[in-house]
């Protein structure tokens, strides 16, 4: 009996971290790691598509030539997936900070996660189906 009470008190107190705390720690680590990867992916992408080539020359034919190499499709898909995850999680911090009413927070979060999910699907479909 005494040992049961003791174990309960450590679970409530200093003994364990809540799943929420664990999630935020992983979220913090994910933002740093994905940020470092995105540093390279996003800046290389911008350099090739906006500095080396003019935006008006990146036509469908240009993309077709570029995506004939599957490595560029993988590169672009990584940028899509990590960019959306990193951005959506960043927006989650912003929503937690500024949307204080619980009802509004649910509505705004469901909308944002919904839009991100749909655009992830649309983007993946574009990369996979383009011939």
């Amino acid at each position: 009996m005494a040992s049961t009470i003791k174990r309960d008190s450590t679970e409530i107190g200093l003994g364990r971290r809540s799943s929420r705390q664990n999630f935020e720690t992983w979220s913090w680590l994910f933002m740093r790691v994905s940020g470092i990867v995105l540093f390279f992916l996003a800046l290389i992408h911008f350099f090739i598509m906006h500095i080396m080539h003019d935006v008006t020359t990146t036509t469908v034919a240009f993309v077709a030539a570029r995506w004939s190499n599957p490595l560029w499709r993988i590169f672009d898909w990584m940028l899509l997936a990590l960019g959306l995850l990193h951005g959506t999680n960043g927006l989650r911090y912003i929503m937690d900070d500024y949307v204080r009413s619980p009802i509004k927070r649910v509505i705004v979060k469901v909308s944002v996660y919904g839009i991100s999910g749909i655009l992830f699907f649309v983007g993946t479909l574009t990369i996979v189906t383009f011939k």
């Binding site: 036509t59 469908v60 951005g87």
Partner: protein, 124 residues
């Protein structure tokens, strides 16, 4: 909650944070738009006309703004990673922030020359 209660004054870290948040938000909004415009790839006519539109001088200026937001967010993000992972390495946080901000400004100006070149030479 009033804005003043979430604000602490007089430190560059606060401004680095505000600018990081604003630039991150703007880059993310552009990504959402960009996924939609790229999704028209299977309708070449629509895709190509959207890209001609991006050649417009106002959208080129918007592109320069995007470059600055991306560069600042990327460089300041590195500063945040360094502070979190190697806290002893950075002795002058304010100096690193000002260096990253300056680097972002300089690289944006160099990039702007390339992005605006067709407009300057009168091709657009």
């Amino acid at each position: 909650m009033s804005p003043s209660s979430t604000m602490y004054r007089g430190k560059t870290g606060q401004w680095a944070f505000v600018l990081h948040r604003v630039t991150g938000f703007l880059v993310f909004m552009f990504i959402l738009l960009h996924i939609v415009d790229v999704s028209t790839l299977n309708s070449p006519h629509i895709y190509n006309s959207i890209h001609r539109l991006y050649g417009n001088v106002f959208l080129r200026l918007f592109e320069v703004g995007l470059l600055f937001a991306l560069l600042y967010h990327a460089l300041n993000g590195l500063r945040v990673v360094m502070i979190d992972f190697f806290p002893k390495v950075i002795k002058n946080e304010k100096g690193v922030f000002l260096f990253m901000l300056s680097l972002a400004v300089v690289m944006t100006l160099v990039g702007a020359v390339f992005i605006l070149k067709p407009f300057i030479t009168g091709k657009v």
